[in-house]
């Protein structure tokens, strides 16, 4: 397996795909039932946020143990962005038949800016790092 990615990263991707599909499944189901819509939205999105957080925390920690990346959060963060973005756009356009996908694009835009600044030091391989390791942490 690669230096930065272990099977735990792929397990996180699998969990994120499943959870995101379940979220949109719940939203789709709720849209057919206007009476329960708000409560289902609230429960589904809260459960999604909590489950994603704990998946990222658990599998990210395991990925950190079984690979050599010092900031393994950037991989979990990037995967979350790609998975959420792809599935959201797919559901919006294919299942919900929504014409206006601006809200999703807007989330992706601002989230993308945050993600960019998170991964920038890693991409740049700046002076604080050697082969991906933070210099100050190499000999700790």
């Amino acid at each position: 397996m690669s230096k930065y990615i272990s099977k735990y990263f792929w397990l996180f991707c699998l969990a994120a795909i499943t959870l995101t599909m379940l979220l949109y499944g719940a939203i789709y189901w709720a849209m057919q039932r206007p009476a329960d819509r708000n409560i289902v939205f609230l429960i589904a999105s809260s459960a999604y946020a909590v489950a994603m957080f704990f998946s990222g925390w658990h599998f990210g920690k395991q990925n950190g143990i079984h690979s050599d990346v010092s900031d393994n959060g950037i991989f979990i963060h990037s995967a979350s962005y790609i998975i959420w973005g792809t599935i959201s756009l797919a559901w919006m356009t294919l299942a919900f038949d929504v014409v206006n996908i601006a809200p999703v694009l807007s989330v992706l835009f601002f989230w993308g800016i945050g993600l960019f600044f998170h991964i920038l030091p890693f991409i740049k391989g700046n002076d604080d790092r050697m082969n991906g390791y933070v210099k100050e942490e190499i000999f700790e």
């Binding site: 230096k3 050599d68 390791y133 190499i138 000999f139």
Partner: protein, 127 residues
């Protein structure tokens, strides 16, 4: 009163030792590999024996450190059969690892061997 003072002294000493030992694993690990190539269990035993039990390290943290150092090209390993069956990774210092250890000793360890410091290190305090 004296007991209180000696407890305080012991606490201070332990705090100093904890900070001092933090960065020492690399030196001990490199010294273990300088002697000869070793698998993780042997590295751990070498460190504990030679440091007279003052440096204790978990095998898990040794594996992690060795993997990191391997990615930084300071150590590498050969897979060889162990005494009882499974293949073992025998780690050794690469040319880069040897050069770094040599320079580190030159800059940071040898200075303790000048006469003046030797005298200071091993003489009793005046006060």
């Amino acid at each position: 009163m004296n007991t209180k003072k000696s407890e305080f002294q012991e606490e201070l000493l332990e705090a100093w030792e904890a900070s001092y030992k933090k960065g020492q694993l690399t030196l001990w690990l490199f010294l273990a590999l300088k002697e000869k190539e070793k698998y993780v269990g042997e590295i751990r035993a070498f460190i504990e024996e030679q440091s007279q039990g003052t440096i204790i390290c978990e095998e898990q943290s040794l594996y992690r450190t060795l993997r990191k150092f391997r990615n930084l090209e300071m150590v590498d390993f050969n897979e060889q059969e162990g005494n009882k069956g499974p293949m073992r990774k025998y780690y050794y210092l690469t040319a880069l690892g040897e050069a770094i250890l040599e320079q580190f000793i030159e800059r940071n360890i040898k200075l303790f061997f000048n006469e003046n410091l030797q005298e200071l290190l091993f003489s009793k305090s005046i006060s």
